[in-house]
Amino acid sequence: MALKTEPFVLNIGPVHPSTHGVFRMRAILDGEVIVDMEPIFGYLHRGIEKLAEERTYTGVIPLTDRLDYLAAMSNNLAYVLAVEKLAGIPVPERAEYLRVIMAELQRIASHLIAVGAFLNDCGAFFTPFLYMFREREKIVDLFEMVSGQRLLYNYMRVGGLSQDIPNEFLPALDKFVRQMPGFIDEYDQLLAKNEILLARSKGVGILPRELAINISASGPVLRASGVKWDIRKVDPYSIYDRFEFDIPTGSAGDCYDRYRVRVEEMRQSLRIIKQAMGQLPPGEVKSQVPHLLHPPVGEAYGHIEAPKGELGFYLVSDNSIAPYRCHIRAPSLMNLTALREMMIGWKIADAIIIFGSIDITMGEVDR
């Protein structure tokens, strides 16, 4: 006598302790195995693209902070790069070096949360998460010295930065850069060969190489699948071509590779910060830009390597004080495209880990 089964629809989210923000999935289960899945988002859609059409070019910068709120410096940088490309505004040397330092510090802070939340989902209840937050507080202190804010900085401006760094910043940054490699080694010692982490994440949620390119994935998700594509190397923006650093890539495209790529990227970011600190020139940090900017008629697409992937801004201008159209190419939205393929055949517990390893922020997906 065969067991009578029927498909069961489970709604996961939008309020759930393991989803990174308000993300909802309708999973169709057979027992505990997922046979089909439908992602639903839009619960944080605030209309940033429409609001950007009503503000001046400088007034859009605080709105861009709130896109990927864990990496606000990178969002600012992508937007001001797009505006400078559109209007042809040069940036002083000191501002370029400081922008690189801020962007790489932000990359470390964002990857700390990504790794901490991933381990949280794996079952280490809060211990690695609190350890990562301890390091993140040091970085957030540095940002507070510079901009006055802990989370959403509004620090970059079109043509440079809003203000120069105070005198205490460089000694504090030096101290941080000396201590941080020791902490990353400490986490590696505890976690890299941990049996539970390996059992739960090796071979789980594989994203094959061709599929990763086809869905326009970017960032650690693409690099863990074996594609060596990093905007800082293939299309260097700002002054990244003056620094030496490696691009960590994985081979299998599973959750463990994505985790390792993020940890290695933190080490490479520290390398870049050390080199930038040594070469920092004196000078001013903002070039002469009129208060109300009137860029010429045209369009520009500026993109950077944000911690989550390739963040791009497509701006269309019609010579007025506000952008005519500001479109945001969000990396988290692209990385989510293959979520269904990655989850089919796994159990619900694995589904949470697969979702956590892609590392999305709902502010970016929904805009």
Binding site: I215, S216, G312
Partner: protein, 146 residues
Amino acid sequence: MTVALSGREIASKLEQQFPGSIVESNENSLVVKSESLPELASLLKIAPDLDFDYLTAITAVDYYDYFEAVYQLTSIKHNHSLVVKTRCYGRDNPTLPSVVSLWRGADFQEREIYDLMGIRFDGHPNMKPIILWEGFQGHPLRKDYL
């Protein structure tokens, strides 16, 4: 350094294979007719010297007479990029052909453009709103909304 290919050169190459499909072209981009977009896109993806296998972004812009969809294409192997645009006229029920069968990254982006701008994409397997809910009146990103 990613080389941004010149719109004029690519337009002249494509014009040989598909005459009459290019509307205009300049240094930065080329505009194609919406009916010939699927064939041109598949040529851009498959041709060995072009090999555009990575769709970076799709944007839709509302110029009052027409809607314009902008496709940013990149090639990972050759490290070059191209901007392809296409237009559709009329505000009541604009439609464009979908490129989901070539690049799956267009899936969520086309649904979002349908939701926020109102442009339908023929050939998309799952054309329903993604960001706003079913039953939302109007298309917010249009210039005449509110």
